[in-house]
């Protein structure tokens, strides 16, 4: 696989985990009296939101360069890495059951995502295909 794809993959994973971790840290620092809007208007929270927006855009770019079957497991790894970020950066404690649950979620998300290769064909409802004027699936 091309170096460019691997580099972009690395940046996508870091942006996902980093954005979640920064936002998580910032929201914990928000004063109790800050409302919903006030809490996300803190500078650090806005940095986290900006990183998550960048993650979304970079992931879209990655989807244009690599197969969905490659990108989906990469995204699902974010569940485990976010939990690790919580433990090592935010000093959270995760019981063994929590780790098992997180790994099962990652596996399930990967399995679900890997079946979505061809959304334009057989999974489209017939009435939708008829409405859009496209050919029926062959």
């Amino acid at each position: 696989m091309r170096l460019r794809v691997w580099l972009l993959t690395f940046v996508v994973v870091v942006a996902n985990v980093g954005g979640n971790a920064i936002l998580g840290y910032a929201m914990k620092q928000a004063p109790v009296e800050a409302g919903v809007i006030g809490s996300i208007l803190q500078p650090l929270a806005m940095v986290g939101i900006a990183v998550l927006i960048a993650w979304m855009l970079l992931r879209m770019r990655l989807l244009g360069l690599a197969d969905l079957s490659f990108v989906v497991p990469v995204t699902a790894v974010g569940y485990v890495l976010s939990a690790l970020a919580g433990v090592f950066w935010l000093h959270e404690s995760v019981p063994l059951r929590g780790w098992i649950g997180t790994v099962i979620i990652m596996a399930g998300a990967t399995l679900t995502g890997l079946t979505e290769h061809n959304p334009d064909s057989e999974n489209r409802p017939v009435e939708v295909l008829a409405h859009s004027g496209e050919d029926r699936p062959r």
């Binding site: 970020a85 099962i104 995502g113």
Partner: protein
């Protein structure tokens, strides 16, 4: 309260996904479905930020994946998609993982 926020994340994401999917495929109704989908996405995001205030990151991020399980079930029932076995298996795994996290 954290379950209320998690319900906001999952409910907002699922409603947004269903509206986007239906809106993008069907020209009729796109004008109102897509803006409504963005509204639900906002509900999901605000719920996520508020959940992060009271719950650990190691819970909030994996638990939000519950939307995958609901998306799969409702795609079958509402969008009339054919759900293959592997997708059901994946959704069941996600649901099982979230239940483990919840205990």
């Amino acid at each position: 309260m954290k379950w209320l926020y998690l319900a906001g994340i999952v409910g907002g994401t699922v409603c947004s996904d269903l509206l986007q999917s239906h809106g993008m495929r069907q020209g009729n109704g796109r004008a109102w479905k897509l803006p409504l989908a963005v509204g639900f996405m906002a509900v999901s995001f605000f719920s996520f930020t508020q959940l992060l205030r009271i719950a650990p990151l190691s819970f909030a991020v994996p638990a939000s994946a519950a939307s995958i399980a609901f998306d799969t079930v409702l795609a079958g029932f509402i969008l009339k998609e054919r759900i293959e076995f592997r997708r059901w298996a994946g959704a069941i795994l996600v649901a099982g993982g979230v239940i483990l996290l919840a205990q």
